[in-house]
């Protein structure tokens, strides 16, 4: 016998409860809304935009909108150049492109795939006005590259609205002459190596930060508040120093004619001709990044250690554990949450750092983020930058997933 409970005035209890809770629900939504909008605009939209950019390829088809549909009928395996009608349409496309200055962009886009297109398109946009039928001969007369079937294959391939060529480039691959996908030659492989280097260096930096931060955090957590506050200020000092000051300091300290080398030579540990190379290489990147990322490890560790009552260690000792056993078996397991939080924070920051490695990293200390920045700022190859970024994002997500499986993400404690 299921009887609907009703309130005093006869409204079903559930309806009444829902009504009473609606107000507080609305209030909660209203409180969260600004942050949600902010995150959507400042975080999700850019990421989605980036993922989109890494495959987006509308440009060629849009600008060459007369010739590209005709080119689809062309069989690239035939060994013949496309039909005259394709060239005729191309001439019209180029005339229009010259008007709205879009030829150069298409040229630069195709130049990523094969060097030479940039100049070819600039030249052709300029020359298309004076062209007359037969257009095939006119184009080839303008530049013999138009008679190269290989170039036409590239154009046809990249006229599709979406492309995987950025991802191929980001994985050190490309299209072979037969149209299949192949790894780059030894001379042209770079990004996989950098991804790998970025990963292991970030892990190594995380590890170093942990080793260095653990004792400091422990000290901070057992000191009286007044003293620990002072020490925390010292730990946070790198945050308050401008990047340039920091970099200059590192260079002054670490370079071959720098303070540390001078001291080491003065003490006779190494002789003058064998000064240590600690900057403009991997060592420089590691030292500088450990320095700047250390606070991100110290703070979560400190906040977790602060909550561990001293009675745990005392209890362990009273139960007969040596101080070392007590530390390893009782204290450390209770700091796992802080270790996890600090490690994830440092690792994710390390994997994305690019300014510091660029300044002190030299050739062996640069990371994948430096190349993302390079393609964003210098080469303007945003598609490739987006593909590299997306792969990096994927790697981080996979690692995050593994971390969740192994440590458990709800074990993480940020403060």
């Amino acid at each position: 016998m299921s009887q609907v409970l009703v309130t005093a005035d006869g409204v079903p209890l559930k309806t009444s409860l829902a009504r009473a809770q609606r107000r507080s629900k609305l209030k909660a939504v209203a409180l969260v809304a600004p942050l949600f909008v902010f995150i959507a605009v400042a975080f999700f939209v850019p990421i989605i935009d980036m993922l989109f950019r890494s495959v987006e390829n509308q440009l060629v088809g849009e600008v060459l909108h007369r010739s590209m549909p005709l080119l689809q009928k062309w069989d690239e395996r035939s060994g013949e150049l496309p039909e005259e009608e394709v060239f005729a349409a191309l001439a019209l496309d180029f005339r229009e492109a010259k008007e709205n200055k879009s030829g150069g962009r298409v040229g630069r886009r195709l130049n990523y795939e094969k060097p030479g297109f940039s100049g070819l398109f600039r030249k052709s946009a300029r020359g298309a006005d004076r062209m007359e039928a037969p257009y095939r001969e006119a184009f080839i007369a303008l530049d013999e590259k138009w008679g190269d079937i290989e170039n036409w294959r590239v154009i046809k391939r990249e006229s599709a609205p979406y492309t995987i060529s950025y991802y191929l480039a980001a994985l050190d691959m490309g299209y072979a002459d037969d149209g299949g996908i192949a790894r780059n030659s030894e001379d042209g492989r770079i990004y996989l190596k950098l991804f790998w280097r970025t990963l292991w260096m970030s892990l190594f930096i995380t590890f170093l930060c942990l080793i260095l931060a653990y004792p400091i955090s422990y000290l901070l957590s057992v000191l009286p508040t007044a003293k620990s506050n002072l020490l925390i200020i010292l730990v946070l000092l790198p945050f308050w120093t401008s990047l340039l000051v920091r970099t200059t300091a590192w260079i002054a300290l670490l370079q071959q004619e720098g303070v540390i080398n001078d001291l080491v030579v003065w003490f006779g540990l190494v002789d003058d001709d064998n000064r240590l190379a600690m900057i403009h290489n991997r060592t420089g990147t590691i030292i500088a990044m450990v320095h700047i990322l250390l606070p991100f490890m110290v703070l979560p560790l400190y906040s977790v250690m602060k909550t561990i009552p001293p009675s745990y260690m005392r209890a362990a000792k009273s139960l007969g554990a040596t101080p070392f056993t007590a530390f390893v078996r009782v204290y450390m397991p209770n700091t796992v949450a802080g270790i996890g939080a600090g490690a994830i924070l440092v690792f994710i920051l390390a994997i994305g750092y690019y300014i510091t490695p660029a300044l002190v990293g030299g050739q062996s200390g640069t990371l994948i983020s430096n190349f993302i920045a390079f393609h964003m700022q210098n080469s303007l190859n945003w598609g490739l930058a987006a593909a590299l970024g997306a792969i990096l994002l994927g790697v981080v997500l996979v690692l995050y997933f593994l971390y969740d499986k192994i440590v458990g993400i709800d074990n993480m404690k940020l403060g």
Binding site: N100, K101, S102, G104, R105, G107, R108, N111, Y112, P115, G116, F117, S118, G119, R122, D187, G188, R189, I190, K193, L194, R197, I251, Q255, Q256, E257, G258, H280, A358, G362, Q363, S364, T366, F371, M376, Q377, N378, S379, L380, N381
Partner: protein, 366 residues
């Protein structure tokens, strides 16, 4: 009637002056993007200040974001909000900007002043006008400086840079393929007029990298122009490439024991592009007419040792405004310095920059 006339002549301007007192000096603000430091200072003294004196209604604001200008400009264009009026760029970037359609195309003879003898601007600048958007202002060179006290034998030719026996020690090179590949081939004995043809072939690229391999582990790679002067001053490198103006200030202003090695200096250009979509295009064109005339380009050389891009400016280059030394001999274009020079092949790099940069980075990472 007479009263009315006097009234008009005295009273109305007075009221107007009162009303517009606040805004009287800066009706138009021009934001000009350049490289900052000594270079912007030379533009400020050579171009901006005289122009603002002549046109009190113009206020010029310097923005030092020159190094990332291309990317920022592209981002501005995509959002449709261009806040820059004029941007200083090296020729290679200007070609990209023009290809990308983010720079205004310019009729050089219409917009720019002719030389004092009546030669039209396009002739006066000559083939330094590398595309339809670009107005070159200076010729700078990337060349070498060395520590006079740290080398046993003076380096005299480009091959010495690649000769670890003659010049032992670290050297600083720019972390990009440009110039380095050219120098490698030149040092390897390739004729200057064949350099770019060679670099266009797989064999030539391999040969250049092979030559660079011989000094690879002795190179500190720089990314900012200020690094080599610092590395030289600290004794971290014995020889290094950088822009000749930077070396001029290390030698003449800071009096460091550094000397120039001009052999096969690489000529490059720096100059203006007008961003498409800027709010003050008409004012900018007026400014350009003034700031790129023969006298102004010669004046800039008083403050920095870069050669003016107009042929007609060369005879007018005088003494350094503060140091009082004759600037002529410090110009990369001075006959004694310019025995062996190579002008960057902009067309070549426009086509091959992406590919060779990737090859270069892969080579570095090896």
């Amino acid at each position: 009637m007479k009263f009315l006339h006097t009234f008009r002549r005295c009273f109305l301007p007075a009221v107007a002056a009162l009303l517009f007192a606040g805004a009287a000096h800066a009706q138009t603000k021009l934001t000009i993007v350049s490289w900052g430091g000594a270079y912007t200072a030379s533009q400020q003294k050579g171009y901006h200040e005289p122009y603002m004196r002549a046109n009190p209604n113009i206020e010029i604001v310097n923005d030092d974001s020159g190094s990332g200008a291309l990317a920022k400009l592209r981002a501005m264009q995509s959002t449709g909000k261009v806040t820059w009026d004029l941007v200083d760029m090296v020729a290679g970037d200007a070609i990209i900007a023009c290809d990308e359609g983010i720079a205004v195309e310019i009729d050089h003879d219409k917009v720019l002043a002719s030389a004092p003898d009546g030669t039209p601007a396009s002739k006066d600048f000559g083939d330094l006008i590398v595309n339809d958007c670009y107005i070159p202002t200076i010729v700078y060179s990337t060349t070498f400086g060395y520590r006079t006290d740290l080398v046993k034998k003076k380096p005299t030719k480009i091959a010495d840079v690649f000769d670890l026996k003659k010049i032992p020690g670290k050297r600083a090179l720019e972390k990009r393929p440009n110039n380095n590949l050219e120098w490698a081939l030149l040092a390897d004995g390739v004729k200057p007029n064949k350099v770019y043809k060679m670099l266009g072939t797989e064999k030539g690229v391999k040969r250049a990298f092979k030559k660079l391999d011989t000094i690879k582990d002795q190179v500190i790679w720089w990314e900012k122009g200020a690094q080599t002067p610092q590395l030289l001053a600290d004794g971290e490198v014995v020889i290094g490439s950088t822009y000749n103006g930077r070396l001029f200030s290390v030698i003449e202003e800071e009096k460091q024991p550094v000397a120039m090695m001009w052999d096969w200096q690489m000529f490059d250009l720096d100059g203006w592009i007008v961003p498409k979509g800027g709010k003050n295009e008409a004012e900018v064109m007026k400014y350009l007419y003034f700031a790129t005339d023969t006298q102004r380009l010669a004046d800039q050389a008083k403050y920095i040792s870069y050669g003016p891009a107009r042929k007609s400016s060369a005879p007018l280059v005088g003494k350094h405004a503060e140091l009082g030394i004759e600037m002529g001999p410090h110009m990369p274009t001075a006959p004694a310095n310019a025995k062996h020079t190579l002008l960057v092949d902009f067309e070549f790099w426009a086509n091959n920059q992406d590919d060779l940069t990737e090859r270069f980075n892969a080579w570095l990472a090896r």
